[in-house]
């Protein structure tokens, strides 16, 4: 009898606890981190009962909704511009804080049946391939980088994303850093005016074109290259080493770039310092309001952000994202602790 009463008591406590925690957060933004975010929101709900609804409508949409205040937080693959931050400040009356969550790598995949070991490329060569200045696989500049590989006498078919994307942003940002001509002629953005090449829609579109086209080269997210068993090039980094893209080399890039990361964490880490750093990688961010209005929502959000930094990072690798280096996690935690609700600090146990 006593046990039964105990059980009933526990049930009631459990139920009330559950109903108290019934806070819902709405978010929208980038598609690139959608896989890990949905995993995080799922796991987080299991633990706390807090539901987070995320619409992966794209970074542009995410930024827009944050400015308009129609979501509790947003997500973007590219940092917001100063103008956008100003607009948000005017419209929402508070600053937007950038919180990097995970890292992603962009790899150069290719289709060369004759070659069975990864080829090596450096920044200038990649830029010239994408500018159309190098158009044969056995071009002197590629062979010099690959003395031990016999490259075929085939024309290079360049493939790029046709849709706007954070992947394109990271890749073109890298090319702008390593090639003056690229910076002058093309520049960087979520979509650019490509000098040459075929456009595929989405990572899956580019992957499809590469897979089918002999002699193709294109940039895709690491996960797509691994899952589709496409080879991808080793890229020469700032220290002169040829590095393969993987979780370690991407995290190393973020760690290598840390001294250049500004206080607001809006940083691109392409072509980062460090001998093991993979040069074409970048953060993806959550965009949160520095001062929030709703106390229970603010608490739920802070709770989630802290959980994502402490526990969430462990989910990254299995989903083909790279976890943040410890130093960035520390910076993030400082940022999270500076968030307020109606001017008061947010207390979460």
């Amino acid at each position: 009898m006593r046990n039964k009463i105990m059980l009933l008591f526990l049930l009631i406590v459990g139920a009330t606890k559950f109903s108290i925690a019934q806070v819902q957060l709405n978010a929208a933004g980038a598609t690139f981190p959608y896989v890990i975010y949905s995993k995080w929101f799922d796991e987080f709900k299991k633990i706390t009962g807090i539901q987070i609804n995320y619409q992966s409508i794209g970074s542009g949409g995410g930024i827009k909704q944050v400015i308009e205040g129609t979501v509790d937080f947003g997500a973007s693959d590219g940092p917001m511009s100063d103008e956008q931050l100003n607009e948000a400040r005017q419209k929402r009356g508070t600053d937007i804080v950038h919180i990097p969550t995970v890292l992603g790598a962009v790899v150069l995949s290719y289709n060369l049946r004759e070659v069975n070991k990864p080829i090596k490329l450096d920044g200038k060569t990649i830029a010239d391939i994408f500018l159309g200045k190098i158009n044969m696989w056995n071009d002197k500049r590629i062979s010099e980088l690959n003395p031990d590989v016999k490259l075929p006498n085939k024309s290079i078919i360049v493939v790029h994303r046709s849709d706007g994307s954070g992947t394109t942003y990271i890749f073109t940002h890298y090319l702008s850093k390593v090639s003056e001509e690229w910076a002058k002629r093309v520049g960087y953005n979520t979509s650019v005016n490509w000098p040459i090449g075929l456009g595929g829609k989405g990572n899956e579109g580019v992957t499809g074109v590469i897979k089918q086209t002999d002699g193709a080269i294109g940039y895709i997210e690491l996960a797509y290259a691994v899952k589709n068993k496409l080879p991808y090039a080793l890229i020469k980094n700032k220290s002169g080493n040829f590095v393969e893209a993987n979780f370690k080399s991407v995290t190393a890039a973020a760690a290598g770039a840390i001294k250049d990361i500004p206080e607001d964490l809006r940083a691109m880490i392409t072509n980062a310092d460090g001998k093991d750093s993979y040069p074409i990688s970048g953060f993806t961010w959550l965009l949160v309001y520095r001062d929030m209005k709703d106390k229970s929502k603010a608490e739920a959000l802070v709770k989630f952000l802290k959980w994502a930094m402490e526990k969430g990072q462990a989910f990254a690798e299995e989903l083909y994202y790279a976890p943040l280096p410890k130093a960035i996690v520390k910076l993030n935690e400082k940022k999270i602790n500076s968030l307020t609700v109606n001017g008061k600090p947010i207390k979460v146990k």
């Binding site: 409508i57 542009g60 590219g78 849709d163 979520t190 650019v192 005016n193 579109g205």
Partner: protein, 332 residues
């Protein structure tokens, strides 16, 4: 729609008489309130459709104001589409849209008419039913499925078989030159032609079938061949078939997903059908989600406005064509 197209080809004198007599009848009769409400209510629904079109046009105009003010008419003649320097021009995508759609029509029209003639005039009924069903089934396949089929079947086939063949035999024409990627205006046109074929053929079949069989039977009784009898049917359904073709063209112009997947997505203007291209609907679908700057979004909306206007103009032109041909044929 189908009935409307058919009726048009019949004497409009009869229509006029009918309308006049109805008017007179209405004058004599006392007002029936039920009829009154019925008429006004349906009028209201009809107006809603009209308003919807107006509001859509207006909204697109307002939201693209930024880009219209900045680029003016140059937007239509500019060839660059560069989100980095924020220079936007619609010419390559307008050309891409029109070329791929008209080419699709060129391929699909003769096929569709052939299908329609066979189904309505010649096919035995045991074959006609399943064939009609299959044709209509084609119309119901989602465009993403066509797109995937395009990427995995059509494009490789074009690259390895069709394009080399065309280059070898017709390479002296500027349309069949250049590198063969497979992803091209040609691929887009072929996919579109498969997509519009069921629309044109099934509507044409219905129209041809609604031609009174007395006419055909009379011709056959006078010793006409099957082809001669069919010619009579075709002559009677000319305007209807034209209308069906325009519906098909409308579908081709607006098609997004399947085209994006095979056209290669490059905003260039090229004579060669082997080269990649871009269409307006594809640019919008591709870039809208990640467009962050105001001008960028505004330029994309202006593209939508142009697409909207082109669709209206083409439809109006088709109506005009049907109308003027009808008059000409009546005289004969």
């Amino acid at each position: 729609m189908k009935e409307l197209l058919v009726e048009k080809s019949y004497s409009s004198v009869y229509d006029k008489l009918k309308r006049n007599s109805l008017k007179q009848a209405n004058n004599i009769r006392k007002i029936n309130w039920g009829d009154f409400i019925y008429e006004k209510l349906t009028l209201f629904f009809a107006i809603i459709v009209f308003l919807l079109v107006v509001v859509m046009g207006y909204e697109m105009y307002v939201n693209s104001k930024l880009s219209i003010d900045k680029f003016g008419w140059k937007f239509l003649s500019e060839k660059t589409w560069d989100p980095v320097t924020e220079i936007y021009g619609a010419l390559p995508s307008i050309v891409g849209t029109l070329v791929s759609s008209f080419l699709a029509l060129l391929i699909a029209f003769p096929l569709s008419i052939g299908v329609a003639i066979y189904l309505s005039e010649l096919a035995p009924s045991w074959l006609e039913k399943p064939l009609s069903f299959l044709v209509e089934l084609l119309a119901g396949i989602p465009s993403i499925v066509y797109g995937l089929w395009g990427i995995f079947v059509l494009v490789p086939w074009l690259r390895t078989e069709v394009q080399p063949f065309l280059y070898e035999h017709l390479g002296f024409l500027p349309f069949f030159r250049g590198p063969m990627y497979g992803f091209s205006i040609l691929a887009a046109s072929l996919i579109l032609s498969v997509m519009v074929l069921p629309i044109i053929s099934s509507i044409s079949r219905d129209i041809m079938r609604s031609v009174p069989s007395v006419q055909k039977e009379a011709a056959l009784a006078l010793g006409a061949t099957k082809w001669e009898a069919t010619k009579i049917v075709l002559a009677n359904s000319k305007t209807g078939i034209l209308g069906a073709t325009m519906l098909g063209l409308g579908r081709a112009i607006g098609e997004t997903m399947a085209v994006t997947m095979v056209i290669g997505n490059r905003p260039i203007i090229s004579l060669s059908l082997f080269d990649p291209g871009y269409t307006m609907a594809s640019i919008i679908a591709n870039e809208f989600t990640e467009a962050t700057s105001e001008l960028y979004i505004s330029a994309l909306i202006e593209l939508a406005l142009i697409l909207f206007i082109i669709t209206i103009v083409i439809n109006a032109a088709a109506r005009f064509l049907v109308w003027s041909l009808e008059r000409k044929w009546k005289k004969i």
